[in-house]
């Protein structure tokens, strides 16, 4: 992938993730459906961490986090803090993920997504008095994992190409 095309794809994917994160559902949509909205930003950032981690700039993540704060009405800094931490931890997890991308990346994603959602709920409880419910935390994690599955073949093929290149 040429560098310019890669960056264009990176920026487009971020924009699409932001749009999907705030796309409105009908007011009367059932609660389970509302809870099943995947955490698109976590998903897309994690994909880029595993796919091409050099594109994942901490500063860009900080900026995207601020936009997300405004879109969700969260206190400024909350999503920046979580995204920056996600990228930093994700990069460290790469060494563990690389030997078996499909399985280990899924495990890492579920753990990181759970931590991000749980910490966000905790901070919202402290700052905005929003009640913590297990459904608010677990269902988005499940939805994020389900949406992650189609990304696995792309990651597997990229890593098998990389390994073939090395050998």
């Amino acid at each position: 992938m040429s560098d310019l095309r890669g960056w264009a794809l990176f920026i487009c994917s971020m924009f699409v993730a932001l749009v999907l994160s705030v796309a409105p559902l009908p007011f009367d949509a059932p609660n389970w459906l509302k809870n099943l909205r995947p955490d698109w930003l976590v998903l897309i950032w994690f994909f880029w961490i595993v796919f091409q981690h050099e594109r994942c700039s901490l500063i860009v993540a900080f900026g995207v986090g601020l936009l997300l704060d405004v879109l969700f009405g969260d206190p400024l800094g909350l999503n920046s803090l979580l995204l920056v931490s996600l990228i930093y931890v994700g990069r460290y997890a790469l060494r563990w993920i690389e030997p078996s991308v499909g399985l280990r990346s899924s495990i890492a994603l579920v753990i990181l997504c759970f931590l991000v959602t749980a910490i966000k709920s905790l901070v919202q409880f402290i700052t905005l008095d929003v009640q913590i419910q297990l459904g608010y935390i677990l269902l988005p994690v499940l939805a994020t994992f389900l949406c992650w599955i189609p990304f696995i073949p792309a990651l597997n093929s990229k890593h098998s190409q990389f390994r073939a290149g090395v050998h």
């Binding site: 924009f15 932001l18 749009v19 999907l20 994160s21 705030v22 796309a23 409105p24 559902l25 009908p26 007011f27 009367d28 059932p30 609660n31 509302k34 809870n35 909205r37 901490l58 500063i59 900080f62 986090g65 601020l66 936009l67 704060d69 405004v70 879109l71 969700f72 009405g73 969260d74 206190p75 400024l76 800094g77 909350l78 920046s80 803090l81 920056v84 931490s85 930093y88 990069r91 709920s121 901070v123 919202q124 700052t127 905005l128 008095d129 929003v130 009640q131 419910q133 608010y136 988005p140």
Partner: protein, 276 residues
């Protein structure tokens, strides 16, 4: 190897700097309004994102209107005309009642009630957060809206403003878990507090004594306490009561009249603090 280590250290320093920065932002923004200007700037940047996110929804609506048959439109028009004539009659009655009240107040020497003005608003953005029932409307400080103004839809109490920007405001819906409306039961004039219970849930009346006279079908209206809503605005109707003998309370459920899904115009109540 040395290069990689240097890169890792640099990345760690950057992470720590951004982590501290985000934590400070979080602490300041959750406790003060010093960052309101920054938020206004960021709101401007996210406008294209919200616009594009709403496009499919708007397109569906427009296509729906386009394919409405002439007969359906005629029917809708007839309904609106009927409503208009009914409302005109009601307005005339209200004007007469207002004049009578004013005369009575003059005779009794009573002070006039707080005057409320309405600002018409439209929903421009629905907060996608699962835990919070919030919308953004297209009026703000420039239109005279302030924090804690009541918001109504054509059917009843919709919510209240919680954060106001120059040309927009964030509205907390009446069914949000953090929202409570001072109400009274119209039939008995007993005062209660109606609390929200989250998305798609009904409201509940708090701390209702077992002996309280509340019945299914009772209309619940605002009590005027709290200074956000004037007295007598429709809130909902009692749909269920359950006695919890162990706690000596009654669990009373209220179906709200407001219809957030109707996408109709909203009215923001701007209380005039000056009494006549």
């Amino acid at each position: 190897m040395a290069l990689r280590t240097a890169h890792t250290i640099q990345s760690t320093y950057l992470f720590l700097a951004l982590f501290i920065c985000a934590t400070l932002l979080l602490a300041v923004s959750s406790n003060t309004r010093y960052l309101a200007t920054v938020e206004i700037g960021l709101r401007f940047i996210v406008q294209p994102i919200t616009y594009i996110a709403n496009l499919p929804h708007k397109a569906t609506e427009q296509i729906g209107y386009y394919f409405d048959s002439v007969a359906e439109l005629q029917l809708r028009n007839d309904e609106l005309e009927l409503n208009l004539s009914q409302l005109s009659a009601t307005t005339a009655e209200l004007d007469q009642a207002k004049a009578t009240i004013a005369q009575l107040q003059t005779v009794l020497g009573a002070s006039a009630p707080i005057q409320a003005q309405h600002v018409l608003a439209e929903i421009v953005y629905v907060n996608p957060s699962r835990q919070r029932q919030e919308v953004t409307i297209n009026v703000g400080l420039n239109q005279g809206v302030t924090d804690d103004n009541g918001v109504l839809d054509p059917w009843g109490v919709f919510g209240q403003t919680v954060e106001v920007f120059p040309n927009s405001s964030r509205v907390l819906l009446a069914n949000d878990e953090r929202h409570a409306t001072p109400v009274l039961v119209k039939r008995t004039r007993r005062y209660f507090v109606a609390s929200g219970n989250g998305p798609n849930e009904l409201l509940t009346l708090d701390n209702v004594n077992l002996s309280a006279d509340v019945q299914i079908g009772d209309e619940v209206v605002t009590s005027g306490l709290g200074g956000i809503f004037p007295e007598g605005l429709n809130v909902g109707v009692i749909v269920a009561t359950n006695d919890i003998v162990a706690e000596s309370i009654k669990h009373v459920t209220v179906a709200p009249h407001a219809r957030p899904d109707a996408k109709s115009y909203l009215r923001v109540i701007v209380m005039d603090s000056v009494r006549e």
